[in-house]
Amino acid sequence: MNLTLKIWRQKNQSDKGGFKEYKVSDISKDMSFLEMLDVLNEQLSDKGEDPVHFDHDCREGICGMCSLHINGKPHGPLQTTTCQLHMRSFNDGETITIEPWRATAFPVMKDLVVDRSSFDRIIQAGGYVSVNTGGVPDANEIPIPKRIADEAFDAATCIGCGACVAACKNASAMLFTSAKISQLAMLPQGQVERKERAEKMIAQMDAEGFGACTNTGACSAECPKGISLTNIARMNREYFSAVVSSENV
């Protein structure tokens, strides 16, 4: 297939940036979207031009590194990661617009690469559990009902890609933060820091400049892991009960 690509180019964080058009031809329908960009970059390198910078790592849909706002949707037309999106989702002759995630808390570093370390700082603020050192505990020593274990695991499948932030009109990180709070709040291991975790992670989320939640549901609809809005409701409960009952005055 032959395609026209309208790609956001930006030299560095302070550059204003703008769209540039490129043509690629003989693209196989079986290529992944990132492989299609690899073809473009080889073309650009051959001509001595600066290749288009974009994030990627595993290319297996598990690391959350790939991003891209493709034709008006995070990760493109399907509810998957960009590395798992294939060119058969597009038509021959189509113009594809590719933009970086847009959020104050995700500054554009170069072209399509954004800095998502604000997510790391939210995790650092409280997305952990304290464990005793010493002998290895037996597996299944702590009984956890299957349903709870499954729900906690569902929340834990969040790969931190940031599509939720990219999709939200408020660039809100509620879905991500709520998944990270939920996966620990539901398990016995997460009880020790439970209140502190909710308060600190939400304070960090606000400090990073993410927006509030209007409950539009765009995040969950675009999340490649289908993280559910019930996590946001749970996070709200965690937070409200933490602020009224914690010793943190």
Binding site: H69, G72, R102, A171, N215, N236
Partner: protein, 227 residues
């Protein structure tokens, strides 16, 4: 900063205020509608005028009505605070956006919908509440007792087609605001449950149509009666 101010300066605390005030306003709408439907009784406004007077003189209702104004104010102030910080979180918009594929129009435009409702509220309060409190009203006598004849100014207002149109259109905006707001408030409060959420969503969808429609019916019927 004390923990209280810290909470209400957080995005979640601010949303909590939006949800609580929004739910109170929803409750108020029901009570207000029940009272207003008396305008349609075929008694030249007798029941409505007596009802209006009794509401105005009831001390409990006066407290609730002050609370109601306070809640509208809090709802409006925090809607501005939240809308501004939400805009700041996404200063550069996408060149191409297919937001309509992942969320409803109403959910993305609560600020616009609310602003129209606020404009309507100002017209509405100036026209009726202010007149009732401070204006020169005609009077009506029932069983030897003199009442302010609010019915007279309401029916005069609704004989004006422009006024009727403003009311009907405003109710459309209210309907859209509620179509998202009703269920959204429960989610904000953390009330999301497999058993109850589907019910809340259905009740919300029904509420958003029925309540504004009945409100809109009053000026329409009263206008037709003047023809």
């Amino acid at each position: 900063m004390s923990w209280v101010t810290k909470t209400f300066n957080s995005t979640l605390g601010q949303k909590l205020l939006m949800a609580l005030t929004g739910l109170f306003l929803i409750l108020f709408l029901v009570v207000h509608l029940a009272g207003n439907l008396q305008l349609l009784l075929p008694d030249e406004g007798e029941s409505f005028n007596i009802y209006a007077e009794s509401m105005a003189s009831n001390p409990l209702i006066r407290v609730v009505s002050i609370g109601n104004f306070a809640f509208i104010l809090i709802h409006v102030i925090y809607s501005v605070v939240l809308t501004r910080s939400n805009k700041k979180a996404r200063p550069v918009n996408y060149a191409v956006s297919k937001a309509s594929t992942n969320s409803t129009w109403a959910s993305r435009n609560m600020g616009i919908l609310g602003t129209v409702i606020l404009l309507f509220l100002i017209i509405h309060l100036r026209g009726f509440w202010y007149e009732f409190k401070f204006g020169e009203l005609p009077t009506a006598v029932y069983d030897g007792v003199t009442y302010k004849n609010v019915f007279a100014i309401v029916s005069e207002a609704y004989s004006n087609i422009a006024y009727v149109i403003v009311y009907v259109v405003a109710m459309g905006f209210l309907g859209f605001h509620l179509s998202h707001g009703f269920a959204s408030a429960f989610q904000t409060l953390g009330l999301n449950h497999v058993k109850y959420s589907p019910l809340i969503q259905k009740v919300g969808a029904g509420f958003a149509i029925i309540i504004p429609a009945l409100f809109a019916l009053i000026p329409i019927v009263m206008y037709i009666q003047t023809l």
